[in-house]
């Protein structure tokens, strides 16, 4: 196979990982919203945890995007 084509296919495959991060971020915000509607007075106190969980989860998706970008532009 042409190495350039293999690189493009690899970049596409690497992006699949972002789907998992999408599921994770959706779970975090969905559960936060569900909990916040049950007990709105406690919601403000958990905002820091929400953002922290969001960042940690999102980072994994960004990692796979990074692999794709490296394949496309850097390697």
């Amino acid at each position: 196979m042409d190495p350039q084509a293999a690189k493009m296919i690899g970049a596409g495959i690497a992006c699949i990982g972002m789907g998992g991060a999408g599921v994770g971020v959706g779970t975090i915000f969905g559960h936060y919203l569900a909990a916040a509607l049950r007990n709105p007075s406690a919601a403000q106190g958990q905002f820091g945890n929400l953002i922290f969980g969001f960042a940690v989860t999102e980072a994994l998706g960004i990692f796979s995007l990074l692999i794709a970008l490296l394949l496309l532009f850097a390697l």
């Binding site: 953002i51 960042a55 990692f63």
Partner: protein, 248 residues
Amino acid sequence: MDPIHQFQIKSLFPIAHIGNTEIAFTNSALFMLIAVALISFLMLGTTRSRALVPGRLQSLAEMSYEFVASNVRSTAGTEGLRFFPFVFTIFMFILVVNVVGIIPYAFTVTSHIIITVALALLVFFTVIIYGFWKNGLGFLKLFVPSGIPIYILPLVTFIEVMSFLSRPVSHSVRLFANMLAGHITLKVFGGFVVMLSAFGVLGWLGALLPLGLTIALTALELLVAALQAYVFAILTCIYLNDAIHPGH
């Protein structure tokens, strides 16, 4: 229209030569200096009057101070406040550098992994050195959680050590990759506008869609810039908390 072109480091003027390596004043260094000048102006210049009723800029400085201080207090405890200047410096530097980077034609310092790795390793070694200095060998309790059955303890310890060692990697790559990916996305959508508008009047109408998306993405990038600075600072607090209070 190469989306990577914006991250090129250009030498503005050379300073010295060490062996074959040229030490130069680059655009990266220039934007770091701009960020430091902006922060100094915000923190020193606007609070000079010490008004009892603060003006806009003074209250901005006070708010950022109180925001970081309350975060440090809630994550690392009152003892963590001795690291407040450290965390505040990191937060303000990353925030200002990220926000300045969104301005068109500006250079994003944090889109280079060497910068974020330097910051993350600074935090990493601060945690290790302060942890051992304050707790002695008790710092190693961090890797041996209490209340774990003895037969899975080796495995858990191994996992804890591995997760501790991978911290600087995830800490730095998160910030770097977020900025890099965001700016590449902006550039790619900006490229669509140019490509479509080459097709004449109909193309101009079509170009409105990616143009609107670019504006929306810039707003998102502004959020991400502030969020990543916050996340970097809060993770610094959490890691410092491990050094101050080891053991789970």
